[in-house]
């Protein structure tokens, strides 16, 4: 520093005092949680635009383009039907197995896609994070919205399947709206939780597929978990039935299919469990993500 030419105009004032006098803020300070929520709200247009952009961008090079949003869930349902309905014959005890299966696949697929995209939502957008200042929770949240849009396409397919397989249109279908809302809050919280974890533990991305597959098999997507756990002690069966994905799936089946096999819990208690999961995961994910706000993009 000996050679430095000093142009400092306030040689007598300490830098920290100078900063305080002119109301400068220390760079890299974490905002308060209320301020953070407010800034997220201010960025809502960005969150939605980013979600739309990603939805469009994934399919720009495909020749059938946006049609894949509908074709993907249809193909998915066809594959699982072939294996579990036709070849393995899991469908014996369940009436309207096609609708039963599709409910499971689409509802599970939503949260599962959010979880895997959420895990990389920070690490995949490092360039953006390093270039621009915006509330980072915008990224996992926009991932959730991208998947929600795809779920809505899947839901249109599902409604068509349900009608074709002979279910009558009912008022109960409307319960899908609060259900998907709860599931979205749950998934958003999960995306934020995994977003921060994934930015800290880089190897999580490699582990997630296995976690998600285990979760898939444990959520009664292809079979009735209630029948499968008949011989278990009650506490174990209850524990398995508290699985949030199972609850979301069962509630969707209750809404769409008249011949759903009875579940472990009553419908009312399943709604309570769903509400509980949404609140806990939403709040926990948000709080955990906010705590790390200034860590993202460093190193």
């Amino acid at each position: 520093m000996a050679e430095a030419v000093v142009t400092e105009p306030y040689p007598t004032v300490a830098p920290a005092q100078l900063a305080a006098r002119y109301g400068l803020r220390a760079a890299g300070e974490r905002p308060g949680i209320r301020e953070y929520i407010r800034s997220l709200w201010a960025y809502r247009h960005f969150i939605v635009a980013f979600a739309n952009a990603r939805n469009v961008a994934t399919l720009t090079t495909a020749r059938l383009g946006q049609l894949w949003h509908v074709l993907t869930p249809l193909t998915n349902a066809a594959v699982y039907y072939l294996i579990f309905g036709v070849i393995l014959g899991t469908s014996d005890r369940i009436e309207n197995f096609v609708a039963y299966l599709c409910c499971g696949i689409f509802i599970f697929g939503y949260t599962s896609a959010v979880a895997s995209a959420g895990t990389v939502s920070i690490t995949a957008n490092l360039n953006m994070i390093r270039a621009l200042q915006f509330p980072r929770a915008s990224l996992p949240l926009s991932v959730t919205i991208t998947q929600l849009q795809q779920l809505l396409a899947s839901m249109a397919v599902l409604i068509a399947i349900v009608l074709v397989t002979g279910e009558p249109p009912r008022l109960a279908w409307l319960t899908l709206i609060p259900l998907l809302l709860l599931q979205t809050v749950f998934s958003g919280g999960l995306a934020m939780l995994l977003g921060r974890l994934g930015s800290k533990i880089v190897d999580l991305k490699q582990i997630m597929p296995f976690v998600l597959r285990t979760w898939l098999y444990g959520s009664g997507v292809f079979y009735s978990l209630t029948t499968a756990t008949d011989n278990m002690p009650t506490w174990a069966s209850t524990l398995l039935h508290l699985n949030p994905m199972l609850v979301f799936i069962e509630l969707a089946r209750e809404a769409l299919i008249t011949t759903t096999p009875p579940s472990h819990f009553s419908v009312e208690s399943m709604w309570l469990v769903a509400l509980g999961w949404a609140i806990v995961m939403g709040a926990l994910g948000f709080f955990y993500f906010w705590r790390g706000e200034k860590e993202y993009g460093r190193g």
Binding site: P15, G23, N127, G297
Partner: protein, 255 residues
């Protein structure tokens, strides 16, 4: 001394040590196992002491050039000012939220230039209505439509110069209190460079402070009246651009 000069950036004895992941010398699976088994300090992480005790104050309406040889800590310092890298010791105080404008600013390569403009503006926190009115202005400024309708083509079809011009145009569309520019002006052609230098001047006139990191001494000379010369993470000289550049040129040719 002019008491009216209002400081916008105060850098107080800043040290930055950053950690580099994936820097293992032995990258084989066996090496990874050995590292886990030996439980020593993770050898995949190495520390780099990039900035060693830098202090200065920048004021409203000032354009400050940052020069120095490669690896002297210029870009690291900019990131610290932008709040993107933590100072290991010391502190950085800024007015408002500084925006770092680098040539690597990410955009979505599969989307059209126009959609990227909208997205970029929203990401900077511009209100929706303003974005709508500014979009065409930004595309015109970047000049990417000079050879046909490029703004509706995906960004992956752009040349690197076109991409950099669009990025600069987006960042420069918003009024920043503190704008940090990392090598961005060097990418465009002569015509665009002239336009962007004018824009930097405008931003400064709007009571902003501009930091410019560049290896192009002529663009530092044209835009900045004050220059800080960093060498190995230490300020070697800080003063009027002409004096600093003269000393720097002497230093570079002497080597």
């Amino acid at each position: 001394m002019a008491e009216t000069r209002i400081p916008t950036v105060v850098v107080d004895d800043v040290h930055i040590v950053y950690r580099v992941h994936g820097a293992a010398k032995d990258n084989s699976p066996l090496g990874a196992l050995r590292r886990i088994a030996s439980r020593g300090p993770s050898a995949t992480v190495r520390e780099v002491h990039a900035v060693k005790g830098v202090s200065f104050v920048a004021h409203e309406g000032e354009a400050v050039g940052l020069i120095g040889t490669n690896g002297s800590g210029k870009s690291t310092l900019l990131r610290a000012i932008a709040g993107l890298l933590p100072a290991t010791k010391g502190a950085v105080y800024t007015k408002g939220q500084p925006s770092l404008l680098g040539v690597n600013a990410a955009m979505m390569a599969d989307l059209s230039g126009e959609r990227n403009v909208v997205l970029g503006c929203l990401a900077m926190g511009m209100p929706k209505g303003e974005v709508r009115t500014k979009t065409q202005e930004i595309i015109d400024f970047s000049g990417i439509n000079e050879r046909g309708d490029f703004s509706s083509l995906p960004m992956r079809t752009y040349s690197s110069g076109m991409g950099a011009r669009l990025r600069f145009s987006i960042a420069a569309a918003k009024k920043h209190e503190v704008l940090l520019i990392d090598e961005a002006l060097a990418t465009g052609d002569a015509k665009f460079r002239k336009r962007s230098e004018d824009r930097v001047r405008e931003l400064r006139a709007g009571a902003g402070t501009v930091f410019l990191v560049s290896h192009s001494l002529s663009s530092v000379r044209d835009t900045c009246e004050r220059t800080i010369w960093l060498e190995s993470g230490v300020i070697r000289m800080d003063g009027p651009t002409d004096e600093v550049l003269a000393a720097y040129e002497e230093f570079s040719t002497a080597k």
